[in-house]
Symmetry: D3
């Protein structure tokens, strides 16, 4: 890849006008209120993972419409007292996988809840949570980006973002977790979900959005042809008359608008050669982010961003903001 | 492309053992009986297409589970008496499109019903028929090939194949159509659906399956990596432990098994360099086809097959079998 | 694809200086005068197409140098009185194909003449009209874009554009056609030829150029590497010293210059992600177009443009400008 | 690339039945007789190349139909007495280029005639010789492989193979050349032309066909999709009904048939991973070659074959067979 | 990918003759004896990783020629008594990365030594161990496969395989490790190194080679063109005369030959669509493996093999063979 | 390719600030002084090339650290008196090849020394000169661009640029060469080395840098992803924290800085569609070039530039500047 987007000096100043429907807050307040009519009913069933430094629980909790959403909870063994927790959302196409897929946060001493992505998990790392689609009005381009996109009420990301917000409630329901010290965290789609959950659950202690997806959709569809943003462009290629309707729906789910509502300390990561989540879409969210914030810039990286180096930075950031004992 | 599959002399003899569940016929009898509990309730609403040699009707009829399935009916104008009809199923990813997308069959003097493909039509030519998914148990690889593939009862193709069978009933409900002279027809996915509908509705007058898809799945997944068969392989790449379960489901929907039940005169088309629907998968169905049959072989063609030349052959075949006046 | 060319707001204003030789009009007047020394001698031989709503004629007429050019004429059956006509030119690499390839215009009630493209038709849809090359001075890059490009007198497009102009005369020679109501129409190369024929035959009733090719060559060769514009760049890659000579030749055949001479109502179509005929090359012609005009913009489409949706718009436009009965 | 064709042990035994028309010899005898009605009229005009160890002549001679074909003649300076000569034919798409493009043979002490390829030379290295096409009956796929392929009389390779044979006569017309010691030589297309010329001019002293093209066409079109063999497959993809006619034409121009008529010592080169001129097509010609012969096998090379190492082997072979002083 | 190699039934029987130099054992005995003249001098320096369930040590030990090789040692905290250990070798192009890159084995309760790959680690995950090349005789194709390939004494894999064997000695030097229970483990290149180390250090307790690289080189270079085996083919493409010399060198480093000397229980993993390490090269080693053995077959996977599912199987295998407390 | 870099009018003015370390001149003075402590010790051993117009010598001379560097010397036969000489450096990945690979300069009457590139020559045209790497501190991305890049003292190009400077001394040591008339010449990497050698050996008579590589590294890594500049970007993708260190090292080896020190007449060549050595990197060097200069611009060419046409221009330039007799 080359540096196909703006130069870094422009990115640092790039703060495009937000495209935000007037009822954005009302929409989400109503959405969460409906979801909360269902008790969170978090279940933690001990699982035999074969691991020895961590206890693994197979989790279920009530997500959107009360539907049961799966997760893993990894609790570091032999740690005293309630521990801070990290809720992680996973990348596009994946599910929660097996419990030993992600061991970093628990090894670092955090309770670690990995939320399954409803419907996803048949393209890469598997998941088990279905996404019952409520009365679709029409079809979708293969994938999840355009599932129910003709209507904000029925759009896929309304459901999974609601799940993401409720996952924070779920982890807080575990007795070993210190409910005041819960961070939301994710890479790519997970980063976009972390921005959403962090804005929708205002008392989270930290938000980490590494190479976040789900931000500044229209620009994304114009400057990259890589999946998954390209699913939107492909849909509009076939459904030529739906352009404005689609972007109206997406405005309810734009990480730029969530960022503008965040108050917790935030950490971003961005690769300047990222053609999956182009840097201008990441900086659009970062520059609108309303809380204290920092961003790690990786000039020669694509969508992988800083990887294990980013993780080191994130661990430092979480240790500061969550102050684990 | 090159001739990557068997040479023609082997293809002509290639008649692999059928993989067929013992309750195949029971499964489909039950499926159709359930569907037929809903009245076909075919509606034909005149549409303003701007065309002058053909009357266009926007059709709805009761498909699987009584769900309303869209179609176009094109009736050649100023033709006396009931006319023979051709029911067409469309290719993967497409919907019925606008009514003037397909004008060949009506120009040839046939009533022409073009069935929409539920859920599809957001990737290429648009459609309007949704596919409400009944209580999915898990996710799917993006696309339709693995939608509900963990259970034959919930598999996507159970629903659309039922739609396909009922579309024959729908066209017969139009007073201008001669119900004794109805052919089923399609290319690629449409060809696979024609085989299914032709086997499930035994009194159709002819079956045309051009470069048919949905045949001999296992071999297909082993010799081509082109979409859509590749969706199955991609799913199994992620869901490593589901291999046998997946192919058990697919055995209820294999064109090879439908072909073995067909009795109407059949015409096939095949491209010897077709890496989307490899020639051995087409010949597997053709060599098992139980009715009178012929196949048009296009040695240097891929999935496009004979295109307009194939259409000429098909028109000759339909004129013979349907004897339009 | 991405939006790699100018943004729409700039495209709407993009009106580059025309590169036009001083003897442009003289060149074409002389060219047509020479061609018209041959009687048009249009022949219409009834063909057995197997179709029932349309009469098909296999046409020959005198094109460039009096050479016989093939076409199909499709006349809607049972229509009273002379009908308006549409002359269609086809896309690069194709010929007229079989008669049932293109059924839209006749189904819409127009006499429809589909002109074969001399020499083309061995790469996709077949044709039958040869292109005897008059005393070539040197070679060409494979394809037609550089055939005789060293000299405007011998350039391939001089011959086929002359054919295109004469095709209007040919359709007018049919007794069932209303000579006052003839439109020229085409997509891609066909759109470029429609611009040429529309400018060279000033009394056509309408011009439709969908995603037109053959416009603003120099910019095209600098911003896209897709065939067929790339044939010119590839030729110049080998024939390094011929750059100015080549663009001088092309200036006689540039749709931008033809557009500036058009007087009939015109309709254009453009895809903003079209990397075959980039949007700035289409808008360059559109913004210079001298007659009444409109353009259909498809933001997420490539060279396919609006396809069947564009056809609906074109049908509305033709019904207005040709007022068929 | 991988070793996609037969293993070497099978290649060494691969001697497929020849597909040869009964009038092959008559066809070529008549073709050459017609050409020879035109005096060879070889002209050698001194050219200013800026070189100092070699004299360069710009050559013209009468090729097919007496048409003037260009060539370079490079004569090593300060060499006494008549020298042996090498006639070289060039690769597909190229022309003779500038005179200093190929300096090996003259540096080795041979008179070196490099024949231009009529019509070619606008895709890579330029040429100047046009190919006036005699009354084409229809079109061609872009390139030269299908130019006139509907009729052996009008096929492109009839003309250039005739040129190739006459080039030997041309070089013999130069007073500094020893007419008894003339070799024909080429790589790829040049190798195929060398086989043809070597068979048609039976008294050549040696034939060198390195990675020869123009051999065993039918198999080539079935096992590789690389240009230029692919031009034939692409043509047949569009012209579906011409398969047997095309291969009948090609049988008059197949290097396998020429090889079976060769008597001079021959040297071949082959790359076992060559997907442009697959090894089985080269061995088909080699194993039918009727004269004394050897073949250099390069196991890990594609179409580049042995390159400069092959040249060393070829120089040794030419020094032996031509015994230059 | 497709199933491009042998079908599974043939793979299970595929046991090609070994290509083994007569002094194979002598070569390695001498190589290891030389290396062992340097004391292992394992250093374990506590590192601040920010992790809380594991102690991390930055390791150095004496590898080939006594050169200091880096590694990480991860010791699960609060585990009593000496623990079994797993020595892991990493994939081609990577280094040991940061310590938290690989957390599975320590979370499972094993001491986990991750050896850096000398010279590698600038293409993906970084490393810090240089590879001083002893007096190269000539160049190499970019990468490591042909570094010093002209001579077994100087070949790169002689050095890193020696490092791999000594890494077992290094981990045994740690007081918390139970020296009788050390397994060697790796994926891809790491799997190849595990085979080598497991054969060279005969008292290891288990060998895990997941999708192993470095096996059956000659076949690999003939059936896949994917890196890194392709580096060998590319080298031979340039160095045409070195084919036999290169494969002679490689015979000293072939996993097939190491497998034939293994005595510990072994576990393999293989993807039937793996075009990086083709299944026949993996089965060649597996079928020659001399110890008790099992293989996990993933039919629809490429080089990723079973990933986290394979890890579960491996954990079961290690728990059985190492019996950790 | 398209014109992806600046338009020509901007390129002609593009003169970016030089990034130059303060000790640049001291660094190179010291480097050359150290090299010159070794006598040049040029050896010229007559080689049997089979050629007849040129004498070939297999050369060795003392390059960096006194290491023996190979070259070919081609002397035109039967030329009186000392002749001017051209020292040529070859393209990336190649070695000197066999002696008859490059015959142009000797055929033009110049003594022609072709320097081998240490370590290279296993990817394309072979070489024989090894590159013993002095105590590497860490690894490299496969290739030569990052070999020792962590330290200017150990960087690969320090060694080969020193070789390049000494190659001028080597050719001057031959009695048949006129030491006052020596030009340095190369394409791509060879062009970059010519700039370096021309600046480091101030009394060369001419410098020819055709499509030069090794110029303006930072911009190159940002606008192209083609090898070999991409090796630097790939290295930085893995070694994320080394960005500034790497570009500091490269500043000692930047053709822009060498160009600013050149005094001899210079000729450049550039392709405006060159994505290997983008035109802005070439013009950056050209516009800083301090001697008399000219540049040949090839608008539709990529990295091939003007090829044989460029050679003609270069021959004219050399004849003027070297005035051969």
């Amino acid at each position: 890849m080359v540096m196909f987007d703006m130069p870094l000096s422009e990115l640092r100043e790039y703060r495009p006008d937000r495209v935000e429907p007037s009822d954005f807050d009302e929409f989400w307040a109503r959405t969460l209120a409906e979801a909360r009519r269902h008790d969170i009913a978090a279940e933690f069933v001990a699982a035999d993972s074969g691991l020895r430094t961590v206890d693994v629980f197979d989790v279920r909790f009530a997500g959107w419409n009360g539907e049961r959403v799966a997760a893993w909870l990894l609790m570091p063994r032999r740690v005293d007292g309630p521990v801070p927790a990290v809720v992680e959302y996973v990348g596009y196409g994946s599910g929660r996988s097996l419990a030993h897929q992600r061991l970093f946060m628990s090894a670092a001493g955090f309770a670690h809840l990995v939320m399954d992505s409803r419907g996803q998990g048949s393209a890469w790392r598997p998941g088990v949570t279905p996404d019952p689609e409520p009365a679709p009005q029409t079809g979708q381009y293969p994938g999840f980006m355009t599932r129910g996109i003709d209507d904000p009420e029925r759009y896929y990301y309304r459901r999974i973002m609601t799940d993401a917000a409720r996952a924070v409630e779920a982890v807080r329901a575990h007795p070993g977790v210190d409910a005041q010290r819960v961070a939301v965290y994710g890479r790519s789609q997970g980063g976009g979900l972390a921005l959403a959950a962090g804005a929708l659950v205002p008392d989270v202690a930290a938000i980490v959005a590494d190479v976040p997806f789900l931000c500044h959709y229209r620009r994304a569809t114009e400057i990259t042809d890589k999946t998954p943003y390209a699913e939107i462009a492909q849909y509009l290629k076939a459904r030529r008359t739906d352009v404005e309707r689609v972007f109206r729906t997406l405005s309810y789910f734009d990480g730029v608008n969530f960022a503008a509502r965040a108050t917790a300390p935030g950490q971003f990561g961005v690769g300047l050669m990222d053609d999956v989540c182009p840097p201008s879409t990441v900086f659009a969210a970062y520059n609108h982010y309303a809380g204290p914030k920092d961003i790690c810039v990786w000039p020669y990286n694509g969508h992988e961003g800083g990887e294990v180096f980013q993780e080191s930075d994130t661990l430092r950031f979480l240790n500061e903001t969550l102050a684990p004992r």
